[in-house]
């Protein structure tokens, strides 16, 4: 408790420094997640259209990508792109791609073929079917993927401190290096809250965005 109080005092005494670290952490996470979603969701749509060996290869690659340790991916980026915000963003985007891609692909594939057929029978174009039928039905599964990716990215952004990406991880590494418990808490507690917040936010969005007709009663 005393340590928590000290950590709180530290934040009060260094508000700008803390705000900057938190800001970097949030922007790293939000940017990585947005870029990954902007790439992975269209890619999933394309893979479902394409099908066959290409789709299988894409999903297999995503499955392998998913198993790679976060710190290994961040570390591998460093010799190539150097240290700082941009390399960290690149690595975190890579980490966020597989769960979004796999879930979007699975969600789209699970849409009932009969539903798509009847939409086609009503004279809908491919684009309309995608926007009005397939994406809304797949949305809960897509959001489950975004949720997994969000938690992973917030957690991965802590590790970005190792390659100079900044963020709240800096307090944790400094705290461990100096064995200063309160400094370590200045990083660890907010980042835990951030991660739980991201998880709760996406859980709520997932619930709200599920079309009424598809909600479990």
């Amino acid at each position: 408790m005393a340590m928590l109080q000290q950590a709180w005092l530290y934040i009060l005494n260094n508000p700008l420094q803390f705000a900057k670290a938190a800001g970097v952490h949030v922007s790293l996470s939000v940017c990585a997640l947005s870029i990954a979603a902007a790439l992975a969701i269209p890619a999933a749509v394309w893979l479902t259209r394409r099908g066959g060996a290409v789709a299988l290869a894409g999903i297999n690659a995503a499955n392998i990508g998913r198993t790679l340790p976060s710190l290994a991916v961040l570390a591998l980026v460093m010799p190539v792109l150097g240290t700082g915000f941009a390399p960290s963003l690149f690595a975190l985007t890579l980490l966020a791609l597989p769960p979004i891609l796999i879930n979007a692909y699975t969600g789209l594939r699970e849409v009932d073929v009969d539903v798509i057929d009847s939409a086609r029978g009503m004279g809908m174009t491919m684009g309309e079917i995608l926007r009005k039928i397939e994406l809304p039905i797949a949305l809960p599964v897509i959001f489950a993927g975004l949720r997994t990716a969000a938690v992973q990215v917030v957690s991965g952004a802590v590790l970005a401190a190792f390659i100079g990406g900044g963020g709240l991880g800096d307090y944790i590494t400094a705290g461990i290096a100096m064995m200063s418990m309160h400094l370590l808490l200045v990083g660890a507690v907010p980042v835990t809250l951030l991660s739980i917040g991201a998880d709760a936010l996406f859980a709520a969005l997932q619930k709200r965005l599920t079309p009424k007709g598809l909600q479990a009663t």
């Binding site: 790679l68 340790p69 957690s155 802590v158 190792f162 705290g175 660890a188 739980i196």
Partner: protein, 207 residues
């Protein structure tokens, strides 16, 4: 690659440590989850509580949990193992409980009708039938634990992360490459071999 030729013993040591610490954590997590999962399969409230608590633990960022444990257990392997167990509980408990719950009620009834005791039903009917789902959970947990072990090197628990972090600190690319690629290869290998076990178990229980 000259670095690797001269330091392959370091890499082997890191890999060995990595495997040992990951396997220890996984074994502890599995024993705990098996007990909690079996209990949760019989009681909805226990299941809800177990999933809520383990879900909370799962959301905490790895490095944050390692750091939060330092005031209590200090640096080292104990810290790392507690963190890894905390991260594996959600997946393992969920899969043990789901696997058991998915066993058809008729099958359990038939076993009871044959005079089997509750323990016999668990050991001979429920757990074997739940095995594919349980192994699917073990697969995800194993990959998670291997990934956490890399980060845990920062709290002095050894393993391949030691090479990676040393490489980052001294800006020595070969160390980073070898450490990170070995860790990736380890995760992929474990994932694929458990995937194979999973599909073998599925085929066996379908036959």
């Amino acid at each position: 690659m000259k670095w690797l030729e001269r330091n392959w013993d370091q890499v082997l040591l890191g890999l060995g440590e990595h495997l040992l610490i990951s396997a220890t954590a996984l074994a502890i997590a599995f024993a705990l989850s098996l007990a909690i999962g079996i209990w949760a399969a019989r009681d909805r409230r226990v299941l809800a509580a177990a999933l809520a608590i383990s879900g909370f633990l799962y959301t905490i960022p790895t490095l944050a949990l390692l750091a939060l444990l330092i005031p209590f257990v200090g640096l080292g392997k104990t810290n790392a193992i507690i963190t890894m167990v905390a991260f594996s509980l959600l997946i393992l408990i969920r899969n043990v409980a789901t696997g058991i719950r998915e066993v058809p009620a008729e099958v359990v009834d038939a076993a009871r009708g044959m005079g089997m005791s509750a323990g016999q039903i668990l050991a001979r009917i429920e757990l074997p039938l739940a095995a594919p789902v349980i192994v699917a959970g073990l697969r995800i947990a194993a990959v998670t634990v291997i990934s956490v072990t890399v980060v845990a090197a920062y709290v002095n628990s050894g393993g391949l992360g030691t090479l990676i972090l040393a490489g980052i600190q001294t800006d020595h690319a070969p160390k980073i490459w070898v450490g990170a690629l070995t860790a990736c290869a380890l995760a992929v290998t474990v994932d694929l071999s458990l995937a194979r076990t999973e599909s073998w178990l599925k085929r066996r229980s379908a036959a």
